[in-house]
């Protein structure tokens, strides 16, 4: 796995079909607070890219640019672009409706956040929003999504139960199923395991490996072992700057920047 991605990263050719998105000179402001500073990098298709860095460095802020969640709150401002490939649309463009962006790019949050509805309705919600009402089609897709999130075995006999009755880890996998049901092009994870115990954590990590073949993944994590385990590429951020971006195995073994080295060797952060 790692060797193949290394080989690909080593080839200089910018074959666009290998990339799912490109971030170009992205700046982000919370009101007057300049939170992301001139960030550029590329997301390779069907790979997992991890965002690491000390608390407050802007990982979540960057992640939430990808589905325009910042648009929900007043005073936030983007500059630069995030270009979705291969169709070459800048999803930060004002003319692009954030709803369209969110239909194409799914998100899993830090705290499991199922709706207070049944397990079935939670997974079906994204489909319903897209106007799907056919019962059998919904049922098929819900089943597929729950299988994709490795939850089907545990819940297939109680799809009408309230989602709140699931355990924390199950709730998080339900949220992944909810995001998977609509077949997103990119799936964003914001510290998806920070509220979970080690066993639930490893099941989510496995899951992320399993779904890579159909969706490009961008994951924020506080846990460097997790970044090393699940990601192909890693971006190290510090105070709103992207300090270093590279193949995960290389970045952890021989970081180019002193600050990255200090962080991953645990000398600070």
């Amino acid at each position: 796995m790692v060797t193949s991605s290394q080989a690909r990263a080593a080839t200089p050719a910018v074959e666009t079909q290998h990339y799912k998105a490109e971030v170009r000179n992205l700046n982000f402001y919370y009101g007057s607070f300049h939170s992301l500073k001139n960030i550029s990098f590329k997301l390779e298709a069907n790979k997992a890219t991890a965002l690491i860095g000390p608390s407050g460095c802007g990982k979540s802020t960057l992640l939430r640019c990808f589905n325009r969640l910042h648009d929900l709150y007043p005073g936030n401002r983007y500059e630069g672009s995030i270009v979705l490939l291969p169709d070459n649309v800048n999803i930060l463009d004002r003319k692009v409706d954030p709803i369209e962006v969110r239909m194409r790019i799914g998100m899993v949050f830090q705290k499991p956040n199922p709706f207070p509805k049944s397990i079935f309705e939670n997974v079906a919600y994204g489909l319903r929003v897209r106007g799907m009402n056919n019962k059998t089609e919904l049922a098929d897709r819900v089943e597929a999504a729950l299988k994709g999130a490795a939850l089907w075995e545990e819940v297939n006999h109680r799809l009408d139960d309230l989602a709140f009755n699931l355990s924390g880890g199950q709730q998080q996998r339900l949220c992944i199923a909810r995001a998977l049901a609509t077949d997103p092009e990119i799936l964003l994870f914001d510290e998806p395991t920070s509220a979970l115990d080690p066993i639930a954590t490893s099941s989510i990590e496995e899951l992320i490996q399993d779904i890579k073949h159909k969706v490009t993944i961008l994951i924020v994590t506080h846990n460097m072992q997790q970044a090393a385990r699940v990601s192909d590429y890693t971006a190290y951020m510090y105070l709103g700057d992207l300090i270093e971006f590279g193949v995960t195995s290389e970045l952890f073994v021989k970081p180019k920047d002193k600050r990255t080295e200090d962080y991953i060797t645990g000398r600070f952060g």
Binding site: M107, F115, V129
Partner: protein
């Protein structure tokens, strides 16, 4: 930067000092607790006394005839038929007007109004202050607006709309509280899968906060049912020996809205009328009507508490 502040002496206390501190703390607590119980006792005793005297005076009147008789010149035969039917009809108008207006306004203020926009600020200030306006002022406003300007007359409709205005702030404030209690991460979950704002509001916010909204509506209606001043101002009659026309008819279109324009009376006004009579046997009738009114208010509040309890049990954020 070099001049370092000397670190303060240790804040560590010995056991005796800690015990002394705790003792003074506890003593103050005890004084406050006694004071609190005393205040509470005054409030509860007064309320209980008022309720008991009402019960004592009015219980003899609580018989089936009391509910099916019109008011009469003879106290023993006087009933509250026209009053409770009037109260009921007015309450329906109030509900039909206040619920969509109040809930709609609250949703607008919470979810649509530009945060920080001046229009929103002006509305906000108005809504909060509206709740403090004396109810008779609403009566005066309604007299000019509904009775004379819109020519609804001194009718059920005018009264219902007046009371709707009166409880609008209650409904708005309660609805906003309920909407606000839906956590941000649930909203973001809905937006995250591509929901529009309207889908988020109608499929998530409103259903999840329905318990709180309903509670607010019921508390508002309980307030409306006891209001007297504004209803007198717009000209409710104090002696009515007939019912408004029935809303249901045997011929098509089966529904009939003449009752909206009918003269009416309501329970508190009936009470007021009986209390102000010199013949003291009417005072028992007034107490009986008071009991009925009180029972209705308590029942509505109990329903509100029950709904809130049920919803809390189901949805824990």
């Amino acid at each position: 930067m070099n001049t370092e502040k000397p670190s303060p002496p240790s804040a560590r206390l010995d056991a005796a000092a800690i015990a002394e501190l705790i003792r003074t703390g506890k003593r103050k607590e005890l004084v406050f607790a006694i004071l609190g119980v005393f205040c509470l006792a005054i409030a509860i005793l007064t309320l209980t006394a008022a309720f008991l005297s009402l019960l004592l005076d009015g219980w003899s009147r609580i018989r089936p005839e009391f509910f099916v008789n019109f008011p009469s010149r003879r106290a023993a035969e006087a009933g509250i038929l026209s009053a409770w039917v009037g109260s009921f009809m007015v309450l329906i108008v109030t509900m039909v007007a206040a619920v969509p207006l109040g809930v709609g306004a609250a949703i607008y203020l919470e979810e649509y109004g530009q945060k920080g926009g001046w229009i929103k600020d002006v509305i906000e200030i108005n809504v909060t202050n509206l709740a403090g306006v004396p109810s008779i002022i609403y009566g005066l406003l309604a007299l000019g607006l509904f009775v004379y300007y819109f020519k609804f007359g001194q009718s059920v409709l005018s009264a219902g709309l007046t009371l709707a205005l009166l409880i609008l702030p209650i409904v708005i404030v309660a609805t906003r509280e309920a909407l606000r209690s839906v956590p941000v991460h649930i909203r973001e979950a809905a937006y995250g899968v591509g929901a529009t704002r309207w889908q988020m509001v109608s499929q998530h916010l409103v259903p999840y906060s329905a318990g709180g909204i309903l509670t607010g509506i019921i508390i508002g209606l309980a307030r409306a049912i006891g209001e007297t001043a504004p209803v007198i101002t717009i000209g409710a009659l104090t002696f009515i020996a007939f019912l408004p026309p029935s809303p249901i008819s045997t011929e098509p279109p089966f529904l009939n809205f003449d009752w909206l324009f009918s003269p009416f009376t309501v329970l508190p006004i009936q009470m007021f009328n009986w209390v102000s009579r010199p013949d003291s046997s009417f005072h028992a009738s007034a107490a009986g009507a008071g009991l009925v009114l009180l029972a209705m208010c308590l029942a509505m509040n109990a329903l509100a508490i029950y709904i809130r309890y049920q919803v809390r049990k189901k949805i824990k954020w």
